[in-house]
């Protein structure tokens, strides 16, 4: 299936990528993210031997990208419009693991403030669809998982609308392919189609393997919006400029 792995132009043709290409793209995406979003939690590549009993006998690219402990404020209706900027400012104050401790201390004081919800995002490669898939889960600051209704309130308006229209085919509760626990998943069946369109419109990109590195950035610029995460424009520009 991955015969064409070496040549990058395949992405331009059908919008899919191989697991190796996913791994390469993930590294590049993670680097860029760190550079442009120093205040946000980083995307970290989690190598995951599917078979734990065998230590290092695995393919290196077996794994997923993980961004954990992103926090979203529970916004009221009026704040809805400037949601994404608010949530980013919120996160500026917190750094990775320390943040959880901070919130533990703050819980008592916080009770009459807006509640902060923590989100974990994983980008996992789907060998069936040959595209990245976004998995996520969410919990309150006390560690209790959010119900789907509560998550829906955190999603941007356009997503909750879509959600009410297609309950079973847009975001569903599914098992995380590596962790074997219930997570939420954005359905990937249309991904290759719109990725194809993204790259078709930009034929200049379609050379010498730049596309691979660009893939996840482009992908996330669309997918991230579904869950209210935006990519800084600079991240896309520089990525192209670096290579052209």
């Amino acid at each position: 299936m991955d015969v064409k792995t070496g040549s990058s132009d395949i992405i331009g043709l059908d919008g899919t990528l191989s697991s190796t290409q996913f791994f390469l793209s993930a590294l590049s995406f993670s680097d860029n993210w760190k550079r442009f979003n120093p205040s946000l939690p980083p995307w970290i590549w989690v190598q995951f031997p599917k078979h734990r009993f065998i230590s290092s006998h695995n393919k290196v690219f077996e794994g997923y990208l993980s961004l954990e402990n992103m926090c979203f404020n529970n916004l009221t209706q009026e704040e809805e419009s400037n949601r994404s900027s608010t949530s980013k400012e919120e996160c500026n104050t917190s750094h990775g693991e320390e943040e959880e401790e901070l919130f533990d201390y703050a819980t008592l004081v916080q009770s009459n403030c807006n509640e902060v919800n923590h989100y974990d995002f994983h980008i996992v490669y789907s060998p069936s669809y040959r595209v990245p898939v976004l998995y996520f889960r969410a919990c309150h600051s006390d560690g209790q998982p959010l119900s789907f209704d509560e998550i829906e309130k955190d999603l941007p308006g356009h997503s909750s609308k879509l959600l009410s229209e297609s309950k079973w085919t847009f975001i569903t509760n599914e098992e995380h392919p590596y962790l074997n626990r219930p997570w939420y998943k954005l359905h990937p069946c249309g991904t290759s189609d719109w990725m194809k369109l993204l790259f078709q419109n930009d034929t200049s990109l379609n050379k010498n393997g730049f596309v691979i590195e660009q893939y996840l950035v482009s992908w996330f610029s669309v997918i991230g919006q579904v869950v209210g995460l935006k990519i800084p424009l600079g991240m896309m520009d520089t990525n192209v400029a670096n290579h052209s």
Binding site: T20, L24, P49, S128, Y129, C189
Partner: protein, 351 residues
């Protein structure tokens, strides 16, 4: 479609279902319920058969049905036959399961909102299978509501005729069967025969949707009775990777080839891995040091051995052509579910 397909659809497992003792509020405790569960079905669909046995003894509350086997909560979206093949090494008949109507372990199991959850889990799997086979899932997405309903009802009721009629519209075809004598589109009863030939003719990928359930043992056992029990889902590796049918030198692609290609970690000789390795060499620049060095030092794990392969309750010979297995033993959502037990020993230390 073949006689084997018919056997798969008619296959069922006798269950003896006990209500968990924490949910028994009456004396004497209710007797267990005996139910025949279709292999291709899903456990929560049995609720209408089971509930009447226990409804009078349940404590107050809202029903959320789930099952366990020897303390292991059962994943409802895995077809019942696959659960049985995987968890009951030495087939136990009837299969003794415990049912719960309260206390859903939502940290472990996906929520199940009744039939709708199961239906959509099925449809989403079907979509995934269609994508693997055709490179898109338009035919499933564009299915008319009545067709979708008929397809699902055919699975619920085990109606193979009705299933064949509707599923043929999905144009997922059968896979090119190299050694089949029975694939003759004209003779099939289906009215879609011309479309089917069309599809077989334009098979682009040869990718087969497979769900592989692997568990490993490190001690040999002669008798299935002595096989270690799976008491935790973390012991099962669930691998959802398509199999690409390779045809080299006129040699057919066997079930053995398929299983090995899905487990490159254990059987590094497969061409699947070689291509990946080669490509990473070609396409990485600076990453090369990190990514390639550990791999080049890999030693083939010669002492991984396929101990058992079980599909639809049978243990086919590994030399059997994979295309036959797919065409005859796949589940209605077009996935082939394979249970594999591997024996792995650490550098022969245990022998």
């Amino acid at each position: 479609m073949s006689e084997a397909h018919k056997f798969v659809w008619e296959g069922s497992i006798p269950l003896q279902i006990h209500l968990h003792q924490s949910e028994i509020t009456t004396l004497p405790p209710p007797p267990p319920a005996l139910v025949l569960a279709p292999r291709i079905g899903y456990l929560p669909l049995l609720i209408s058969l089971i509930k009447p046995h226990f409804s009078t003894t349940l404590p107050p509350g809202i029903d959320t049905i789930w099952f366990e086997y020897k303390g292991l909560p059962l994943k409802w979206y895995i077809p019942t036959g696959v659960l049985f093949d995987l968890l009951c090494m030495e087939p136990e008949r009837p299969w003794n399961l415990t049912v719960h109507f309260r206390g859903y372990p939502s940290n472990l199991l996906l929520p199940c909102e009744g039939v709708d959850s199961i239906k959509w889990s099925f449809i989403n799997s079907l979509k995934e299978a269609a994508y693997v086979i055709n490179g898109n899932c338009k035919n499933v997405m564009n299915m008319s509501q009545p067709d979708q309903a008929e397809l699902w009802h055919s699975v619920l009721s085990g109606n193979l005729e009705s299933y064949r009629r509707v599923s043929s519209k999905l144009k997922l075809g059968t896979f090119e069967d190299e050694y089949a004598e029975n694939i003759n589109p004209v003779s099939t009863k289906s009215q879609q025969s011309t479309e089917e030939t069309e599809v077989t003719g334009q098979l682009k990928t040869g990718r087969i949707p497979v769900r592989l359930y692997v568990w490993t043992v490190n001690k040999d056992f002669d008798d299935l009775e002595d096989a270690p029990q799976i008491d935790n889902w973390d012991k099962v590796s669930y691998i959802n990777r398509p199999v690409e049918i390779h045809k080299d030198d006129g040699k057919y692609f066997s079930l053995n080839d398929a299983v090995r290609s899905l487990l490159p970690e254990f059987f590094p000789g497969s061409s699947f891995v070689d291509e990946e390795d080669a490509s990473i060499n070609r396409s990485t620049g600076e990453e090369e040091e990190n990514t390639c060095d550990p791999m080049s030092s890999f030693q083939p794990l010669e002492n991984a051995e396929i101990k058992l392969v079980r599909i639809q309750g049978i243990e086919p010979k590994l030399e059997i052509p994979f295309s036959w297995v797919v065409n005859n033993l796949m589940n209605p959502e077009y996935f082939l579910h394979i249970c594999v037990c591997l024996k792995v020993s650490e550098a022969k230390a245990l022998q």
